[in-house]
Amino acid sequence: MKHSRDQQPAAGSEGARIRRDPRARDTVATQGLRRRQERPPADGAASGGSNGSVPPDSDTGPLVRPYTMTGGRTRSSGTGLDMISIVMAAREGADWDSLKPEQAAILRLCRRPISVAEISAQLDVPMTVVRVLLGDLIAEGDVIARDPMPAADLPEMNVLQAVLDGIRRL
């Protein structure tokens, strides 16, 4: 099976035996179609031209440290919210006065079903922080969440068919 290559990650003799044939590949390789076994050893392969560039925000950081909003917590209690968990306001009568501004902003977005990632993008607050704040709202009963469909359950062909039809309709 082709996965045997994966057992030889060092691109050693096995990889060479399967694929590398300099005569046959030369034209392709020299034109830029580098073969998979020939990749540079470091993970810099994926970073392209960014090798020399330091992340621009590494010195400054955000004006408000993100976890200030969560009281230093980086995990919410009990809710394993995925980045595409869909959340929605659970009731009309939330106690808005008791909410922190960020939580109120989240709750407003939750009037319609919305994903954790979208809330994060719209409020410009990191997802990790959104998760913690949402966890509080869920614990209070203000928000309900629906986890994404686990990939293992997807053999439900009707879901895949629906996705396929939806894409075709675009």
Binding site: K2, D6, I18, R19, R25, V28, Q31, G32, L33, R35, R36, Q37, E38, D43, A45, A46, S47, G48, G49, S50, D57, G61, P66, G72, T74, T79, D82, M83, I84, I86, V87, A90, P113, S115, A117, E118, S120, A121, M127, T128, V129, I138, I144, A145, R146, D147, P148, A151, L154, P155, M157, V159, L160, Q161, V163, L164, D165, G166, I167, L170
Partner: protein
């Protein structure tokens, strides 16, 4: 859990989400492709990774915590009342591998965008999805309208099995992006269908 019994509870009225990843090297056109098929302008979100990811639950009293911010671009396609599809571009830099695990968790499958000018930049993505047995298709992004290589040359250079679709594509073009996604979902369905299994 928030929605363990989602079929019976109040969550039943909430759509469920599925996701497809768009991977590839830096500058391969991931965000472009997400944008071309998404019903919304691609959104950008950030995941702040701290040592929390490695088990620290509380940053109290830690003044000088090292954090890494990983930016993610994503788009959305509403499939219907019950299903929403999200498309996530994977971070192009190799140092964000930890983010890939989270992204790949539960993903339907992935598009690997290949840039034949720098084909090697897609190899880590191919390795990643193969290793995790996540279905993927390879979309060769024709930056200048032409691809100087045949599908077979690309397939051999990437060293993928015959069952993995390789599609010539234009990441900027909605119709082309649709074709790629259709090919991916059909590929996923073939793999899932017991009748089609080898």
């Amino acid at each position: 859990m928030a929605s363990a019994d989602s079929d019976g509870g109040a969550e039943a009225g909430i759509p469920t989400a599925v996701k497809i990843l768009v991977a590839g090297g830096f500058g391969a056109g991931k965000t472009t492709m997400v944008g071309s098929v998404s019903e919304i302008t691609p959104l950008n979100t950030e995941e702040v990774m701290t040592e929390a990811s490695m088990g620290v639950d509380d940053l109290g009293g830690v003044e000088d915590k090292t954090t890494t911010t990983v930016a993610l671009d994503f788009g959305r396609i509403t499939i219907g009342k019950r299903v929403v599809l999200y498309l996530f571009g994977t971070p192009g830099q190799g140092r964000f591998w930890f983010m890939w695990d989270e992204l790949a968790d539960g993903a339907l499958g992935s598009v690997v965008l290949a840039d034949t000018r720098r084909l090697e930049t897609c190899f880590p993505a191919v390795d990643f999805f193969e290793r995790r047995n996540i279905p993927f298709v390879v979309a060769v992004n024709r930056f200048d309208g032409e691809c100087p290589y045949t599908e077979q040359e690309v397939r051999e250079a990437i060293d993928i099995g015959a069952e993995v679709p390789v599609i010539m594509a234009d990441a900027r073009d909605r119709g082309s992006g649709k074709c790629v996604l259709v090919a991916l979902v059909e590929h996923v369905m073939r793999r899932r269908s017991p009748a089609m299994s080898p």
